[in-house]
């Protein structure tokens, strides 16, 4: 427990709540109110960034469940997102309504995730990471070559989502849809971490031998972790496909997997809050850099190309700097900031 000062619990149920204090509940309500109202004030570009953030949050939170909470390094998350995208697109084009189609995408990704999670029975650490890297590359190859299913190089066009006749066309409507799904997923993962499977995952991460001795069946729980995390990755993929309305194999490469990993590491491994922070940070970073490069470019016009081209280098540099100076991520930094304000003026 984080030991909040001033909270007095009279029941286990109250102690176990996700948001124990009233202040937290108020802040959360205010946050959701702001989210609900902001499309009125923001233009399409900002909304599109928020949409991308929402999709990244779902993917990051699911990867955090697998890598941060259960300790299974996975470099294949981008491909699982892709599987979900293709499966959802095909399901919707075959006639299923949007929500069952999305769940179909999630289920397909879960199956694929569990198949590629089978090596986790025998492999740990770096070997598992390399096995998932192989999974990523093999799935990429399949996306490009399984013409009958994925349309190969031509890709798949996806109609915009439609629930009960209401079409979610355009950034504003997709914003509400994506935020709703992201909230549900985040809440689901937080709840999962409070239940028996969640505690089993943490036990496996901390020291798998002790977990096995205590009675946690390593293999089934690891597979479950892969399954649940890939299911949510599939949901993120389905939303992505419906948002961009056109899926091609190039969208789900190794760069995406690395990006998701960067999100959870910069955010803080093992905490849902960290995954959300990381997703927001990594999605905003290229945009901030573009704006900065554009600004610097108008001051030094000859160097404009160079500034624009340094984006990826700066992404790498940010990652390295975070790992060196803030290895526990943004969540840790946030906790320190909150502690500072709470203890003011007695902060250390």
């Amino acid at each position: 427990m984080s030991g909040k000062c001033g909270l007095f619990f009279t029941s286990y149920r109250a102690e176990d709540a996700v948001f124990p204090s009233r202040f937290q509940k108020l802040c959360l309500a205010a946050f959701f109110l702001a989210l609900a109202v902001c499309p009125l004030f923001l233009n399409t570009y900002h909304l599109s960034i928020l949409n991308l953030m929402g999709i990244s949050v779902i993917a990051a939170v699911s990867l955090n469940l697998l890598t941060g909470v259960c300790g299974q390094i996975s470099l294949g998350h981008g491909a699982f997102v892709g599987v979900g995208a293709y499966a959802a697109a095909l399901a919707v084009r075959a006639g299923l309504p949007f929500i069952p189609g999305l769940l179909c995408g999630g289920a397909a990704a879960a199956v694929v995730g569990m198949v590629f999670g089978l090596p986790s029975l025998r492999l740990k650490g770096i070997y598992l990471a390399i096995a998932t890297l192989a999974a990523q590359l093999i799935l990429e190859y399949l996306f490009l070559h399984w013409d009958a299913v994925t349309g190969g190089l031509a890709g798949v066009a996806v109609p915009p989502p439609e629930i009960l006749g209401f079409q979610f066309m355009g950034d504003e409507r997709m914003f509400y849809l994506i935020m709703a799904v992201a909230t549900v997923c985040t809440l689901a993962v937080t709840n999962l971490m409070r239940t028996k499977p969640g505690r089993a995952f943490v036990a496996i991460r901390d020291y798998y031998l002790s977990a096995e001795i205590v009675g946690v069946n390593l293999f089934t729980y690891k597979l479950r972790a892969f399954g649940v995390s890939s299911f949510m990755a599939g949901i993120a993929g389905g939303l992505w496909g419906h948002y961009t309305m056109y899926i091609t194999p190039e969208q789900f490469g190794i760069g995406q997997s690395i990006s998701f990993l960067a999100m959870i590491i910069i955010g803080g491994l093992g905490s849902v809050q960290g995954a959300v922070f990381g997703a927001v940070f990594i999605t905003l970073l290229p945009e901030v850099l573009s704006a900065g490069a554009g600004g610097l470019g108008s001051v030094f016009p000859d160097m404009a190309t160079y500034f624009l081209a340094m984006k990826e280098g700066i992404f790498g540099l940010t990652l390295v700097l975070f790992l060196i100076f803030e290895p526990e991520g943004l969540a840790h930094r946030w906790r320190l900031v909150k502690a500072y304000w709470k203890l003011y003026p007695f902060a250390h």
Partner: protein, 295 residues
């Protein structure tokens, strides 16, 4: 039949490039247990430095080659000191991500200093092909094969017989025990990165001679994983042989996939399918040390 023999020879020849890169990878892992995702970029940086000294500064090739090796030593030390040392003791995923970040930074630096154009390398080896069993082989590949053999022999001897080499193996095995025996852990790490950077530069110069250099050379780093897993992450012999085997297997699988399944372009993913199979059957590779877990 001759056709298949030629495929095998061609595979061996291309695989020697993989071996060169894999050697650098294994040296780092053997000494520090760090999996270096930036190996391809180290190769690329070595190639670019030699290019700029030879072509842009117009120095004779031997001089610029030796200076490149010097630069690589400095680069290895810088990387170890600035990036890896703060992460001693961190979880393996942090180390993996830091090397991934490092690869992006190196690539970006190369682009800033040398642009994104493909650059042509000075041809130091004769370009007339040598005929092996009827298959014309470019001398550059022969050089790569000989170099990887030579480097492998040098480093095997180094790790087996020299005291520093044994110290490096001890550090990789158990850092605390090695430190308590008086081995300077930090110096060992720095040395291993320097050696790996030097080996990568040599590989980069060879690679540049094959098809010029551009800022996308780093992708070779990914190709190396099947080779090192096949051979064993901490085995030099495994790296050398693994590279050759992967080169041959790529050709064979490509041919098989085409004839049996009609699949095109399978060679790119063939190595990774083999990787998965090896991981399931023999996760520590053919020559790697098995990690025995004791409770």
């Amino acid at each position: 039949m001759e056709y298949y023999l030629q495929l095998v020879i061609n595979g061996l020849v291309v695989g020697s490039i993989y071996s060169l890169v894999a050697l650098g990878f294994v040296i780092i892992y053997k000494a520090t247990k760090v999996v270096n995702f930036a190996q391809g970029e180290l190769v690329m940086v070595g190639a670019y430095i030699c290019f700029s000294l030879t072509v842009q500064a117009q120095l004779p090739f031997v001089v610029s080659f030796l200076m490149t090796l010097g630069f690589s030593v400095v680069l290895g030390m810088l990387i170890e000191r600035l990036v890896l040392r703060p992460l001693i003791g961190e979880s393996i995923i942090s180390v993996i991500m830091v090397t991934i970040g490092l690869s992006s930074v190196l690539k970006s630096l190369v682009q800033v200093f040398w642009g994104t154009q493909i650059q042509v390398y000075p041809q130091v080896l004769p370009s007339d092909p040598v005929f092996i069993m009827g298959l014309p082989v470019a001398p550059v590949y022969i050089a790569a094969f000989i170099l990887s053999l030579v480097l492998f022999l040098i480093f095997s001897a180094f790790f087996k017989f020299s005291s520093i080499g044994i110290a490096m193996r001890a550090t990789a095995f158990d850092q605390c025990a090695a430190a308590s025996m008086g081995i300077g852990i930090k110096n060992i790490f720095a040395l291993s990165w320097c050696i790996a950077a030097v080996v990568s530069s040599i590989g980069g110069v060879i690679l540049g001679n094959i098809n010029g250099i551009n800022s996308q050379l780093g992708h070779l780093g990914l190709k190396v994983f099947p080779a090192v897993i096949l051979g064993g992450l901490d085995s030099l012999l495994g790296a050398a042989l693994g590279g050759l085997v992967i080169g041959v297997l790529e050709n064979v699988c490509e041919g098989l996939a085409k004839d049996l399944f009609g699949l095109g372009g399978f060679r790119e993913v063939a190595a990774f399918v083999i990787l998965v199979v090896i991981l399931m059957v023999k996760p520590y590779g053919f020559f790697g040390t098995k990690e025995i877990e004791r409770v």
